[in-house]
């Protein structure tokens, strides 16, 4: 197979996390009884008219901002006309001439190099209803009809399946972090289409493209792009061509399959929507929307590493939004961030997974967590203590000190008591003492072990270590 340069563009539809639909006040919900979340507007009843949900505009401004788009200050909507049973009015209200956002980018890192994936435009539109095919009949559930969407369209500037995947991961992370969407590809709240064409040389004009529709996961986007490049390359190698077409990714075949060859182009008969007057965005609206933008993932990673968190842990934290949000509340505090991150990603995550709980469902507060981290950092508690205490810490409101007391984890921090024990041990282990003096580090560990054994693990390890060294040297 010869080498070709792929040109890829990605279109993503994202369902917005609003309480109600875009053009009606019926609930925006998922997984409910069929046709239980609709009103006459969603069903396209004669005489009904659209209203416009302010939260949709708010979230769209937020999305445009984090995608580094320019924001249009005055816009209208357009009607896209086509007949399909999932399209209640047989036209979709969308933005074709005046998309709310345009000329943006998302930055990704490919093989250590930063690259901007350029966003052509992002616009607001309504989702269709859900149809299920049963033999010779199709069943329609209008709960999804009118759910708000934003569609984000990149320029054809993506050069590989890897870049496409990185872009989608980044996009998903951004939209999820800004509470714009759940971005659950498995539930369809994020859907991706990829446009793929290939050519021999950079200087050649673009070749025919194929559009792969509604791909169900990010990894399948990657796979379908690779398969599509392969398919097109084989055709060109054999001296063949193909017509512009729409394909889909087949999970079982793990390959793209033809849906339809595009006719002379779809005739959507776009025209301005007369039922919705101009939408004008004020400075206040834009400021308000931006307030909803939290610290973004890249920034979080950077700050965490600066605070001493391991890079792998910084990444893990960002991947777990509730933990990361919790972690962010600590950033102004004077604490050991490395220990804090280890604790959150280690024992606390293990607990949450086991109990199938969210962090917010536990009793852990910022103050109690700081107390815990401090106790651990100072050696007042050991990692074993932590494991023993954790359930109680996360399920009751008691202070850490109180729990320690209850569970008898009263560590010996009394200098003279520990010193007494150590002096006794040194006396009884002359061999180890001389080993230590001869430079055998292992002897120190043995002696510490003896200290812990003698104190039944209650000695503050750091303190014990200090005293032991003093006594040995002295």
């Amino acid at each position: 197979m010869s080498n070709y340069i792929p040109t890829i563009g990605v279109e993503v539809h994202v369902e917005l996390k609003t309480k109600t639909k875009i053009f009606s006040n019926a609930r925006n919900g998922y997984g409910q009884m069929a046709n239980s979340l609709t009103n006459v507007v969603d069903l396209g009843y004669p005489g009904t008219l659209p209203t416009l949900n302010e939260e949709v505009i708010n979230l769209a401004i937020r999305a445009a901002t984090v995608l580094n788009c320019k924001i249009r200050r005055e816009m209208f909507f357009d009607r896209k006309n086509y007949f399909y049973p999932d399209n209640p009015k047989n036209y979709q209200i969308t933005q074709s001439r005046t998309p709310i956002g345009y000329d943006g980018y998302v930055e990704i890192e490919v093989n250590g190099e930063k690259k901007k994936i350029e966003i052509e435009e992002m616009h607001i539109e309504e989702d269709t209803c859900k149809s299920a095919h049963r033999g010779t009949r199709t069943l329609l559930d209008f709960n999804r009809a009118g759910v708000p969407l934003i569609e984000i369209v990149t320029k054809p500037c993506i050069a590989s399946s890897t870049e496409a995947k990185l872009y989608l991961e980044k996009l998903k992370e951004l939209l999820f972090y800004c509470d714009i969407s759940d971005c659950k590809m498995e539930e369809g709240s994020m859907r991706a289409d990829a446009n793929v064409s290939i050519r021999k040389n950079e200087s050649d004009p673009f070749n025919t493209k194929a559009e792969i529709k509604n791909i169900g996961s990010i990894s399948n986007v990657g796979l379908s792009i690779e398969k599509e490049i392969e398919r097109q390359a084989k055709l060109y190698d054999a001296g063949e061509t193909f017509k512009p077409q729409t394909r889909r990714f087949d999970d079982k075949l793990q390959d793209t399959v033809l849906m339809r060859v595009k006719e002379t182009g779809n005739d959507y008969r776009y025209f301005p929507e007369p039922d919705i007057p101009f939408v004008v965005l004020t400075d206040e609206m834009i400021e308000e929307a931006k307030k909803g933008i939290p610290m973004l993932p890249d920034e979080r990673r950077k700050v965490y590493v600066e605070k001493g968190v391991l890079e792998t842990n910084a990444n893990k934290l960002v991947q777990n939004r509730p933990l990361s949000d919790f972690f962010n509340t600590l950033l102004e505090e004077d604490t050991d961030f490395k220990i804090a991150s280890n604790m959150l990603l280690g024992d606390i995550s293990a607990y949450l997974n086991r109990e199938e709980k969210e962090l917010s469902e536990t009793t852990l507060t910022k103050e109690r967590f700081l107390e815990l981290v401090k106790a651990y950092a100072e050696g007042t508690i050991t990692s074993k203590n932590l494991k023993d205490m954790l359930d109680t810490i996360l399920e009751s409101d008691k202070s850490i000190a109180e729990i320690m007391k209850e569970q008898g984890i009263e560590n010996i921090t009394d200098d003279s008591e520990i010193r007494g024990v150590i002096q006794e041990i040194i006396k009884n282990n002359p061999e180890s003492v001389s080993d230590f003096k001869n430079g055998h580090d292992r002897a120190l560990k043995f002696l510490m072990g003896q200290v812990m054994k003698e104190t039944k693990g209650k000695a503050n390890p750091r303190l014990a270590n200090e005293i032991l060294l003093e006594e040995l040297k002295g």
Partner: protein, 102 residues
């Protein structure tokens, strides 16, 4: 001047509008539509206007709706007016091909 609205064009338009035409209707509508299209063709003779468009005589910009839930229909009402339904679903003969839209 080339002939306006060929048979093919008429059939394309009828299909866009999803209106089935009988053989007689095709010829009748072709003649009638041509008359109307001759009228609208005159728009190209109008001169001197600027590029601003008037979509509708809106007195105000869009006033956004608060994101609060209102009353919804009972699924029974949804299916009540539908010619065919199965359970809570509205039913149509099987759809071939995927949605073109969103």
């Amino acid at each position: 001047m080339e002939e306006k609205l060929t048979r093919e064009e008429l059939l394309h338009v009828a299909n866009l509008a999803r209106i089935k035409l009988t053989e007689e209707e095709i010829e009748k509508y072709r003649v009638q539509l041509r008359k109307l299209l001759d009228d609208v063709e005159k728009i190209n003779e109008v001169k001197g206007y600027d590029d601003d468009i008037l979509i509708a005589c809106w007195d105000n910009n869009t006033e956004l709706r608060p994101d609060t839930e209102g009353e919804m229909l009972d699924p029974k009402q949804v299916i009540e007016n539908a010619p065919h339904h199965a359970g809570n679903y509205i039913e149509v003969p099987v759809v071939i091909g995927e949605s073109e839209g969103a």
